[in-house]
């Protein structure tokens, strides 16, 4: 419904019922606000967005109203520029500034501060108050967020965000009247894995980025480019910032289809591995006295020599490397001799997930669709640890019910206080079945703790309860039957249910069960969607590219068919247990590894080549949604670091593969890559290098970028020309198109008068909605329209805990389980120490207490770990942290034995 709104005498069309603030901002007016946020909507607390409303055209006096709390109605007359309204807004700012400290020069928010912007907007320049300023003590909030409470203007955004959206419990408002205090009860790290968003949510400098503080640069000094997070499979959009050749921070890049306004802490703070001392900066050749740096040309010609002399070569790619890198390796070694470097079980899981999405009739949702779903079933996957932003989306999904209840009372969804009041404890039905407790449990309608097989059986039972044609689950307990009936009843009621599962439980049966539930709902005519979490940032891309697993590579090596092994961005010692990895590497004569960081695999490499990280190269990642997204180099790589595909191309050309010579730029490679089946959309992921906006490139540096003629003057006073970027439409320069480029190329948010991230308002068609020109990325996976909803034939037998025999399952951790982010100090600090999780009953039976050393034997792998008693872990299950440093690699789930070790740890 469109309403005509008269603003200062001119008529505009706006959406009827929308609040006036959002309508005015969408129309491009500069109206100051604090407590309103596009993702958190209105509470009318700060009184900053006052405008004047007039009864009719004869009314000249009008009345002051809060625009964020007033719905737009047909024929409404308001004035933003009315002198009284302006004076009111200036008065509010003046009052807020009475206690604001004289901190801007030493404040990290300075230069991108919403409070600064709004103060300038209202024209307040001088503090007239003669009272002394109120002060507060700060708290230590852990490695990610810095707290400076003096700067608070009490807009309440932080607690609204933290408690209502992110589901955190440990940040709250304390005190009263003008003494309110936003913090924790006691000092300590913020518990929520979404705490980093406080930095962006806070309109001033109370919460700032602590990692940025360690190597501070102002927003206007950061070179930025659009990028994609590499720390999980969701592919959240980010804006990393660089200064003096070092990555300084990561901010959110709005993509309404993916991460929206927020990021998780792993994505936001995991970037520091890029600056790590472990980075490889030169090609290394392993000699008798250890690795020594060699010139690039020597490294290339040496490896090319191995290939040229009829050497039998094998390539191992990686699900964390870009499509371009993997494709270049495959082209170099040949499709038959290219293996994605994942264990066989992971390959089976990812291909099962992809088969469900590509061959089934069910669509995989983008995160926005998960946020808007009205019921959810999470089967087997602890999304709060493996895909945090999906957990965040499920939290929004839980709130949909409140909005629905409020709508019945005629309350608009943006009236967030009223929605909360009317909604009370109502939440959308969300069912979670996982082996161990998750941080999402507080929103769950019901929870199940069971072994992966039992979870799969529950899923199949739900499918059966929904659709009588579904296969019968044999030997089902009465409890499971009634649970399945309850879930089925709730899902049947929903209009837009979503089924969430993933590879985290390590069980293909769980994936099949999730597929079966979705298929059953689909048969009932529900608009169901299926979201499957994958292990790594480009798992989907690697699977689309195809190629065997490490088991295949190992059998080739065993056959003695391999002289040279080339490993791309893959630490085999994280994928295989040490014996298997040793066996694989020992079986080859020559080993060449390309990676960013030194690791156990590069240490064994005869030649190790330094390759560019996500911030130094351009490439494409395919998210678990099947969305191909391009990331762009934020800064040119230093030293001899190059993109993986460029190394491989040079080696290939030197070895006589002339077709690789055609790959002059990333676009040429993408062009070739797009001819692969299933990957034709990749070239549409972002505009190519020829793209120009108004004839110009998109500058990576803001127009206020400083110090150009001095930053390198210590080395030479003669400034070098800016590095040329031949791969993309972006430039390492301040010069270029200053307007809004397509979403995939937006390097930062800035608009005149809007220095903070709220400048995003000016990039959106409707504030809070899509960016003009549509979201970034292109979906490669769409369901087959006419595919029948089918059920898997095999249903696993029930799990029976046996005496002396345990089932070891992987427990994922948002901090520590992922390879690259674990190298950043803050993440390492919050990562758990190695442990073995036992249920309280099992611990009692074994006579093991918290922290006691226990010995875990899985197959031939034996390791000693301190015990951790995990309430809620089902009997007969052991939890082993996945991917954690200090824990031996074991393929999970697997049978294992545990025994108490007396005499303390070694």
């Amino acid at each position: 419904m469109v309403a005509t709104l008269h603003i200062d005498g001119a008529a505009y069309s706006v959406k009827e019922g929308q609040n006036l603030l959002q309508a005015c901002l969408s129309l491009g007016f500069n109206l100051p606000y604090f407590c309103w946020h596009p993702a958190m909507h209105s509470v009318g607390a700060c009184r900053q967005c006052a405008v004047k409303q007039f009864k009719d055209e004869k009314d000249t006096r009008g009345k002051i109203i809060m625009s964020c709390m007033t719905p737009a109605t047909e024929g409404m007359r308001i004035s933003i520029e009315d002198p009284e309204a302006r004076a009111f807004r200036a008065g509010v700012i003046e009052a807020l500034m009475v206690n604001h400290p004289h901190d801007c020069p030493v404040c990290d928010e300075g230069g991108e501060c919403h409070l600064q912007d709004m103060t300038v907007m209202t024209g307040h320049v001088c503090r007239r108050a003669r009272v002394r300023k109120r002060t507060h003590r700060n708290q230590d909030m852990g490695p990610f967020v810095n707290h400076e409470m003096n700067r608070c203007i009490a807009c309440y955004r932080c607690v609204r965000y933290y408690r209502e959206l992110a589901g955190g419990r440990d940040l709250d408002v304390f005190g009263w009247h003008h003494h309110v205090y936003f913090g924790r009860q006691v000092d300590g790290p913020l518990e929520s894995e979404f705490s980093g968003n406080l930095v962006e949510v806070c309109p001033t400098g109370v919460f700032t980025d602590k990692t940025l503080k360690g190597h501070y640069a102002r927003k206007w000094d950061l070179q930025t480019a659009p990028s994609v997070c590499v720390h999980c499979s969701l592919g959240c959009n980010t804006i990393p910032g660089e200064r003096y050749g070092e990555l300084r921070r990561v901010r959110n890049r709005f993509n309404e289809e993916v991460n929206g306004y927020f990021l998780c802490d792993r994505g936001r703070y995991g970037y520091e591995y890029e600056n790590s001392d472990l980075r490889l900066r030169h090609p290394l050749r392993l000699g008798a006295e250890g690795p020594r740096p060699i010139p690039s040309a020597e490294a290339v010609s040496y490896v090319a020599g191995l290939l040229r002399n009829g050497g039998r070569v094998l390539g191992i790619g990686s699900p964390r490397a870009s499509l371009e890198g993997n494709f270049a390796l495959r082209a170099l070694v040949g499709a038959g001799r290219f293996f994605i470097g994942w264990p066989e079980r992971e390959r089976a899981l990812v291909t099962t997930a992809l088969r469900l999405l590509r061959e089934g009739a069910i669509r995989t949702p983008c995160l926005r669709e998960v946020r808007e779903a009205d019921a959810a079933l999470a089967l087997g996957e602890d999304v709060s640890n493996t895909a945090p932003m999906l957990a965040f989306a499920l939290r929004q999904c839980a709130m949909q019910r409140k909005i629905k209840v409020a709508a019945a009372f005629g309350i608009a969804p943006w009236d967030s206080d009223a929605v909360r009041l009317v909604g009370q404890d109502e939440k959308s039905p969300i069912f979670i079945a996982t082996p161990c407790g998750t941080r999402l449990d507080d929103i769950a309608t019901r929870l199940w703790r069971a072994a992966p097989e039992e979870i799969a059986r529950l899923g199949f039972a739900v499918a059966k309860a929904l659709d009588p044609d579904a296969p019968e689950v044999p030997d089902l307990s009465d409890e499971a039957k009634s649970s399945a009936r309850d879930i089925a009843a709730a899902l049947r009621e929903a209009e837009r249910p979503v089924v969430v599962s993933g590879t985290g439980a390590g069980s293909p049966a769980v994936l099949e069960a999730a597929g079966a539930v979705a298929a059953a709902l689909r048969r009932l005519g529900r608009n169901v969607q299926l979201s499957l979490v994958l292990p790594e940032c480009n798992s989907a891309g690697a699977a689309l590219l195809g190629g065997g697993s490490l088991a295949g590579a190992l059998s080739e090596v065993r056959k003695g068919q391999v002289d040279t092994l080339i490993i791309l961005e893959n630490d085999l010692y994280r994928r295989l247990n040490a014996e298997a990895a040793d066996a694989l590497l020992a079986g080859v004569k020559h080993l060449m590894v390309l990676d960013h960081l030194a690791n156990a695999t590069t240490a064994r490499a005869e030649v190790a080549l330094p390759c560019a990280t996500f911030a130094e190269s351009e490439g494409t990642l395919v998210s678990q949604e099947g969305r191909a997204q391009r990331f762009f180099a934020v800064h040119p790589a230093r030293g001899e670091v190059r993109e993986s595909w460029r190394w491989l191309r040079e080696i290939g050309m030197a070895a006589g593969q002339s077709e690789m010579a055609a790959w002059q730029t990333t676009d040429d490679l993408i062009q070739t890559l797009s001819q692969e089946p299933g990957l034709s959309g990749v070239k549409e992921a972002a505009p190519g290098r020829e793209f120009r906006a108004a004839g110009q490139k998109i500058p990576r540096q803001p127009h206020r970028y400083s110090g150009r003629t001095a930053m390198g003057a210590d080395v030479s006073v003669h400034e070098p020309p800016p590095p040329e970027d031949r791969d993309s439409p972006l430039a390492f320069s301040m010069e270029g198109y200053q307007g809004q480029p397509p979403a995939a190329l937006v390097p930062r948010y800035w608009a005149p008068g809007w220095n903070s991230d709220h400048a995003l308002n000016k990039f959106q068609g409707e504030v809070g909605g899509a960016v003009r020109g549509g979201p970034a990325g292109v979906r490669l996976i769409e369901p087959a329209a006419d595919a029948p909803a089918r059920y898997a034939a095999e249903i696993p037998p029930p799990f029976q805990p046996a005496e002396g025999q345990w089932l070891v399952v992987a427990l994922h951790h948002v901090f520590g389980s992922e390879e690259l982010s674990a190298h950043t100090p803050g993440v390492a600090q919050l990562a758990p120490r190695p442990y073995l999780g036992l249920s309280p009953e099992d611990a009692q039976r074994c006579g093991v207490g918290e922290g006691d050393p226990v010995e875990l034997a899985v197959g031939s792998s034996v390791q000693q770990l301190p015990a951790r008693i995990i309430p809620g872990l089902p009997r007969g299950l052991l939890g082993l942290p996945a991917g954690l440093a200090g824990v031996k690699v074991v393929e999970l789930p697997a049978g294992g034995r545990v025994r108490s070790v007396t005499g303390g740890p070694p």
């Binding site: 400290p101 020069p105 030493v106 300023k133 003494h179 206007w220 001095a710």
Partner: protein
């Protein structure tokens, strides 16, 4: 004809007027303190570095000849880890001094900066930092700012109340 003699007369008369030109470099002219010459970084009256590395001077510099990196010392004070001015680019416009919120960066009447090598015109922090307050005595940013540093607790700055006790229930 008359104008010709008039011009000649003016020229002759100037031959006996007191000279304003100074025989530089034999004689040094006295430049007023507000002359915009060599840039320095000053210290506050307590001897601490005044520069808090806010990056405003570098942002305002029209030729982008100032580069610095902010850091924080053990006392909680912000300072520039390095501070570099490329005087071969500097146009001595004085905008950096105007932008400086702490009176740290100041232009002085020093004009004798000539070098044979351009590279020598790159001044690092140790070349810029002086031991005095420069043109602006008395001002210490940290006495005004709310930021807590060693020796100045929360609420101890000018015009501040002592920190709020959040657990206090008194009105």
């Amino acid at each position: 004809m008359f104008s010709l003699f008039k011009g000649l007369w003016i020229v002759l008369r100037h031959a006996f007027v007191k000279r304003v030109t100074v025989e530089y470099p034999e004689k040094k002219p006295v430049l007023p303190p507000r002359c915009r010459g060599r840039i320095i970084l000053s210290r506050d009256p307590d001897g601490g570095e005044r520069c808090v590395a806010c990056h405003l001077c570098s942002a305002v510099c029209p030729v982008a000849c100032i580069a610095l990196q902010a850091a924080e010392d053990a006392h909680g004070r912000r300072y520039p880890k390095f501070f570099r001015i490329n005087f071969s680019r500097c146009i001595f416009c004085g905008l950096c001094e105007e932008a400086c919120p702490t009176y740290a960066i100041q232009l002085t009447p020093g004009v004798e900066m000539g070098e044979y090598k351009r590279q020598h015109l790159v001044y690092e922090k140790e070349d810029l930092l002086i031991s005095g307050v420069g043109k602006y005595p008395g001002y210490n940013f940290y006495r005004v700012a709310g930021l807590q540093i060693e020796g100045k607790d929360k609420g101890a700055a000018e015009n501040e109340q002592p920190p709020v006790d959040v657990r206090d229930l008194m009105p």
